[in-house]
């Protein structure tokens, strides 16, 4: 028994050895860096980091900047639409494919392939289609509907929706696959039972199967949320924040302030507000889900 105990503690030590990279990543490259950037947000850093204390001046400048508020609220508009779009469409497609008897692989591939493309490619591709002077608007007009209008890409009020539209195209497939797997893993006996009771198929999905897939939903929300905070590429490639700054997002705003404008202090303040927002949203959800599962 003592020997086994010793061996276990030796193995524990080795486990810690194996965890060194994770520790370095967690404490240095993630949270250490985050702390350093938080520190920069209270310095007078311009295009080079410096260490002169600046109090809350960068935050004040940030909160007085209209551009920031546009970018910040865009993150929620985009995030909300993106999550709703990907999950809504993904679940819908998963159910449709589940109903299929053949050709399942074909449709699955069609819906999933965009995920393999980069968001830069996604943005550039949709840019051509959504551009009113060469894309959908032009095609429909040439087909005879001459006053057809679809100029969201260049409309300050709607540009952010086109970003969600392109991003949903990119992200739906993964969600569909996750839910499809979830649906397939539910007990087939359910179908026999409900058939006897003559319950319509859609009710089986909505009332019986989907409620069992809370864990899948958690995974989906996490994977998509991860994309929302990193929504830099698709914005740069599709609208570059335009027209003006109507479709700007915090990720791009911060990048611009770091490097183009050389206002590292204010950019860092923006980054801190971003991460604080994310933590405020993710942490309670994560906590709640973990508690639920442990119960």
């Amino acid at each position: 028994m003592r020997i086994a105990g010793k061996r276990i503690s030796a193995n524990r030590a080795k486990a810690w050895l194996a965890l060194i990279p994770a520790v370095v990543v967690a404490f240095y490259f993630i949270w250490g860096f985050a702390a350093y950037t938080a520190y920069l947000s209270v310095t007078k850093s311009t295009f080079l980091p410096n260490h002169e204390f600046n109090g809350a001046a960068n935050y004040r400048a940030l909160f007085e900047d209209d551009r920031w508020w546009v970018a910040y609220s865009n993150m929620f508009i985009f995030g909300g639409l993106y999550l709703a779009g990907c999950i809504g469409l993904g679940v819908g497609l998963a159910i449709l494919i589940d109903r299929l008897t053949g050709k399942e692989a074909l449709f699955r591939t069609i819906y999933l392939y965009p995920m393999s493309l980069s968001l830069v490619v996604t943005g550039l591709a949709w840019q051509w289609i959504l551009n009113p002077t060469i894309g959908i608007q032009k095609i429909v007009r040439e087909a005879g509907v001459e006053d057809f209008k679809f100029n969201w890409l260049v409309s300050p009020d709607h540009a952010i929706y086109t970003i969600a539209f392109a991003a949903v195209w990119h992200g739906t497939g993964l969600i569909m696959i996750l839910f499809l797997a979830g649906i397939k893993s539910t007990d087939p006996e359910i179908w026999k039972a409900t058939r006897i009771d003559r319950i319509p198929a859609w009710r089986v999905y909505v009332s019986i199967i989907l409620p069992q897939l809370r864990a899948t939903l958690l995974t989906a929300v996490m994977l998509l949320g991860f994309q929302v905070v990193r929504s830099f590429d698709v914005v740069v490639a599709l609208t570059n924040g335009g027209p003006g700054y109507a479709s700007d997002v915090p990720a791009r705003y911060v990048f611009e302030y770091f490097f183009q404008r050389g206002e590292i202090g204010q950019g860092a303040a923006g980054a801190v507000v971003m991460v604080a927002t994310m933590i405020a949203i993710v942490l309670p959800y994560l906590y709640f889900e973990i508690r639920r599962r442990e119960a």
Partner: protein, 444 residues
């Protein structure tokens, strides 16, 4: 800003040098940096260097760990790249080894250099407008002292004192000014105007009156792209229309009464009013693509710098199917010096490369050839008016008789950003004229 002086007008066609000598000194006084003014900043440089030294203690030193002898630039249009090729060939001829990184616009190349400063691996030189950014870099002690090379290479021999001052900071050479870009060009597709039965507008009222007719004719009256700097260039022309050089200068220097005044408000109103005469595709469009609209006869007017002229070759000579005119409704020129900033490097071979680059771009014959390729004016006084044709020749001529004012791109980053931000926000309907006016008052 001085005005009224008009020396050199008679010799305008004879010798560009004479014009050049009077241009920045006479007309651009207070805009190009005066040497005396610059001396006073030595203290600032010193303190900047000290601050940088302090940073080093905190493992944040800005001195590069190693160099990479490349040039960051945004000369990516066909004629600009040709100019860069001419400089490159001279540099190689002098014995250098060339590498460069091109960016879509100046903002991107400056952003890259800023990131590389933090990473301790900046390029050896940055091509950009010589203005606020250069002063910021110099103040932080990030630029190389090129005095020795300039002395040995005789950089100052063939340029006017005021241009030489542009390349110096604190009395030391940190940059090589190579071109004087006149920014306020109006390109016109004459065929489009003819087809719509519209005459060349000479006044602002003519111009605005022509726009509905052009729109009626099914073309885009005003070609513009989606970058804030493009919007700000259009804005320049409106400022000149409302209040000429005086208003422009007062706005740029943040004269409180002017910024808050009625004229500024009118500028904003007129500017916002132009929006309806542009096309839907403008958002996100680069200037090159926008130029294509002009070349292919889809648009009538385009307000852009000298770099756009090179694209019109397919339409035949200037004055035929197309023309370039300096803002017709005002005699002022908005100008900015373009050149190469030398970044502080420690590697011996990089420093040698900088000397070669400096000598290559300051070589009068090379500079003239490159200016011809780019369609702009060299700083060298050796250039003759006869060296130029088409648009640059017009600029040479105009310089003699007009007031030159420094374009926002040659001023501090704060001024440039204030103009770009406000113009862009108003243009893209993020704010209304009232809010835009307030924003200008706050920022300038």
């Amino acid at each position: 800003m001085s005005n009224g002086l008009n020396p050199g007008a008679e010799s305008a066609h004879d010798n560009l040098g004479e014009n050049r000598a009077c241009l920045p000194g006479g007309h651009c006084g207070g805009i190009w940096q005066h040497p005396e003014e610059v001396e006073g900043k030595t203290m600032k440089i010193l303190s900047g260097t000290l601050a940088a030294g302090g940073c080093a203690l905190l493992a944040l030193s800005v001195s590069p760990a190693f160099g990479d002898s490349d040039v960051s630039h945004n000369w990516n249009s066909e004629n600009e790249a040709e100019a860069m090729r001419i400089f490159r060939d001279k540099y190689i001829e002098l014995g250098g080894e060339w590498s460069d990184t091109a960016f879509p616009d100046s903002e991107a190349s400056i952003a890259s250099v800023k990131a590389r400063f933090i990473g301790g691996n900046p390029p050896m030189a940055l091509q950009s407008a010589l203005g606020g950014v250069m002063r910021d870099f110099a103040e932080a002690g990030l630029l190389q002292n090129m005095d020795e090379a300039a002395e040995a290479g005789g950089w100052a021999d063939n340029i006017s004192d005021s241009i030489a001052a542009v390349g110096r900071y604190g009395g030391h050479w940190v940059a090589a000014p190579v071109f004087v870009d006149v920014i306020n060009w109006m390109y016109t597709n004459n065929d489009v105007l003819d087809a719509a039965g519209v005459a060349q507008p000479d006044t602002w009222d003519d111009f605005t009156a022509s726009l509905p007719a052009l729109q009626e004719a099914g073309v885009v009256p005003i070609a513009i792209g989606g970058d804030s700097w493009q919007e700000a260039i259009l804005f320049d022309h409106v400022v000149l229309a409302v209040g000429g050089a005086e208003l422009y200068e007062n706005l740029m220097t943040g004269d409180a009464a002017t910024v808050a005044g009625e004229q500024t408000r009118r500028v904003l109103e007129e500017f916002a009013g132009l929006r309806q005469y542009t096309d839907e595709g403008k958002s996100g469009r680069s200037w090159n693509d926008t130029n294509t609209l002009m070349i292919t006869g889809q648009a009538a007017f385009f307000f852009m710098g000298p770099w756009a002229a090179g694209g019109y070759g397919d339409l035949g000579p200037e004055g035929g199917s197309w023309s370039c005119r300096l803002t017709p409704w005002d005699a002022s020129l908005t100008v900015v010096a373009d050149g190469f900033q030398f970044i502080k490097v420690t590697d011996e071979s990089d420093m040698a490369a900088q000397v070669l680059l400096g000598n290559a771009v300051m070589d009068p014959a090379t500079q003239i050839a490159a200016a011809r390729a780019k369609g702009t004016l060299p700083v060298t006084t050796v250039a003759m008016a006869s060296d130029f044709e088409g648009c640059p020749a017009k600029a040479v001529e105009a310089m003699a008789g007009s007031t030159s004012i420094t374009h926002w791109n040659g001023r501090s980053a704060d001024v440039g950003n204030a103009i770009k931000d406000t113009a862009s926000a108003l243009w893209n309907q993020a704010i209304d004229v009232d809010a835009a006016h307030q924003q200008l008052i706050d920022k300038l």
